[in-house]
């Protein structure tokens, strides 16, 4: 009886702590959302207003009217396409390295080392290259760059997941009449599904949040939302309501994606922890 009581108390303390921490982390996001619904006066009022007197959608209306909101669509196109490409090419590379020992023992290490290059070190050479190739401010340009930048990560992660698949599962399919290509679809992809989703999410999030390359390599045609947000930081004043509304628009897709794929994400973390 006493032990049960103590356990109950323990649980209550834990729950309280978890709630407190969650609130702490959620607060900035709550504040971001609230700012986007406030009038300018409310934004700067002191003491701060926790809840706007009336929900204002005017900031959003302006973003859509001026076409600023399309930058979210640009981000979606660039991040989505480059994720699909990086996942497809990267998984095939990873399979080759894992199963055929392509490149011997060190290729995988070399590949992941490419990911450690600071973007700032390469962005200007790439800019000059892109000017020459005519790829500045184009979708293909940005997609190509994000794909290349994400490939090492995809290869490294997927190699780990593929090595975790018992090789007999693949061999059984080859003996049973499948080509290696068919076998990839029938065995390797289903077996590494959790890893595929988890890796894809991280890849997408990287491309989604990327700022430096987008800033240097785009002008007006394919501006991504991260670059667009900076346009609201003016010399005289900052357009806080636009900044917050744009940030909300940029955050929502991530919320939606992560919400849908949460269970893969959690499994992906633990799988990656075992082998990488």
């Amino acid at each position: 009886m006493k032990a049960a009581h103590r356990n109950r108390l323990k649980l209550a303390v834990r729950l309280a702590a978890a709630t407190l921490i969650t609130l702490l982390f959620l607060f900035p996001i709550y504040w971001l959302f609230m700012i986007s619904f406030k009038t300018p006066d409310e934004i700067f009022s002191y003491p701060p207003k926790w809840w706007p007197a009336q929900l204002q959608f005017s900031s959003y209306a302006v973003l859509f009217r001026d076409g600023d909101a399309t930058t979210v669509l640009n981000s979606l196109i660039v991040a989505g396409t480059s994720t699909v490409l990086a996942m497809f090419i990267g998984t095939l590379c990873a399979y080759s390295i894992a199963r055929f020992r392509t490149g011997g023992d060190n290729l995988a290490n070399w590949i992941i080392s490419q990911r450690m290059v600071p973007p700032i070190a390469v962005v200007f050479p790439i800019f000059l290259l892109y000017v020459w190739l005519g790829l500045v401010d184009t979708f293909p340009g940005l997609i190509l760059l994000y794909t290349a930048f994400n490939l090492p990560y995809v290869i490294w992660m997927m190699r780990g997941y593929i090595l975790d698949i018992p090789i007999a599962l693949e061999e059984a399919a080859l003996v049973d009449g499948y080509t290696r290509w068919q076998m990839l679809w029938k065995v390797v992809f289903p077996m590494s599904r959790a890893g595929l989703f988890a890796t894809a999410i991280f890849t997408f999030v990287f491309a989604w949040n990327e700022f430096l390359f987008a800033l240097v390599l785009t002008r007006t045609e394919v501006t991504t939302y991260t670059v667009q947000v900076t346009h609201y930081f003016g010399g005289q004043s900052n357009f806080w309501s636009k900044i917050s509304a744009m940030s909300v628009l940029g955050t929502l897709p991530i919320f939606i994606i992560v919400g849908f794929m949460q269970r893969y994400l959690v499994r992906g973390f633990s799988l990656g922890a075992v082998k990488g």
Binding site: A168, L169, E171, V175, Y178
Partner: protein
Amino acid sequence: MSDLKITALHKYYGEVHAVKGVDLEIPAGEFTVLVGQSGCGKSTLLRTIAGLETADAGTIEIGGEVVNDHAPRDRDIAMVFQNYALYPYMKVYENIAFGLRARRTPRAEIDAKVRKAAQMLAIDHLLERYPRQLSGGQLQRVAIGRAVVRNARLYLFDEPLSNLDAQLRDEMRGEIKRLHQDLGKTMIYVTHDQIEAMTMADRIVLLREGRIEQQGAPLDLYERPATRYVAGFLGSPTMNFIDASLERGNDALNVRLCDGTSLALPMARTAKLAGREGQRVVLGVRPEHMSRALAGDTRSGLVRYEARIDLVQPTGARTYATFRMGDTEAVAELLAHDVSQPGERIGLAIDMNRVILIDPGSDAVIG
């Protein structure tokens, strides 16, 4: 007509020479067991036949066609793996149908074949389950079912029972053998377990360090081993090997142990050993060829050996008695009550018709 013919096959893993020139011909419908210790190349040989490894030299013919350059799927083989190799995301039904789907078999035919195979293996009530819901024995049945539905020319088994517990292993052993009798297909079965090899095989191929040490019917190998290795590998408890020398006795050859005992060989066996008098030999005696000596037993070829028993291990019907013979420990397989406690001195009758003599230099059996 042979289903499988292997000629001068070599396989390297980097520096390791895993298969060193194997020649093997397996007649249609035969159940062949490749047996040997781990690292002897038996699994490599099987995987090379399957096309999961490439041969570095030599040819592999399946059904009269050289298949060295064929992908596994073009070799008309089905294979059962040690760890079942079932797909965790497919139900049992789909796992069994997997190979048929690859070959675009009509839906109705797949259904009929899957249900027939499932019935044969007594897993027809499990078709809608996932592999994780099955026991080890059931998993192995599903894995066998997936091979059986295929109607392949050659069936390969890679240590399929080594993950099962002892009782289940006995049961499945019988079942695979019955399956072979019913289907009449050519099967090649890899194991390290000599009991599996003895009980299941039409023909045993005993491999050692990448070469075939000896092949033949199980009892052939058991009774007429070509080398000391074969003699020692088959049989449990293992054959006793005692250093000795050959000497001329009154009218026949004697085997003289280092403790001074002389054991007379039957006349029938002396001809083959002519000219070897005085040479060192190793005497090979199976435990079951020693029995408690009975007064008045006049069967020819029995010689008496006085033994002081050091260790008694009853197994039920039989009792294993350990004693010193010459300069080694020997084990005799006696009747249950032939010996009751260590320290006992008993007379053993050794059946000299059944012993083998080995040349200690070459390890070859010479008589």
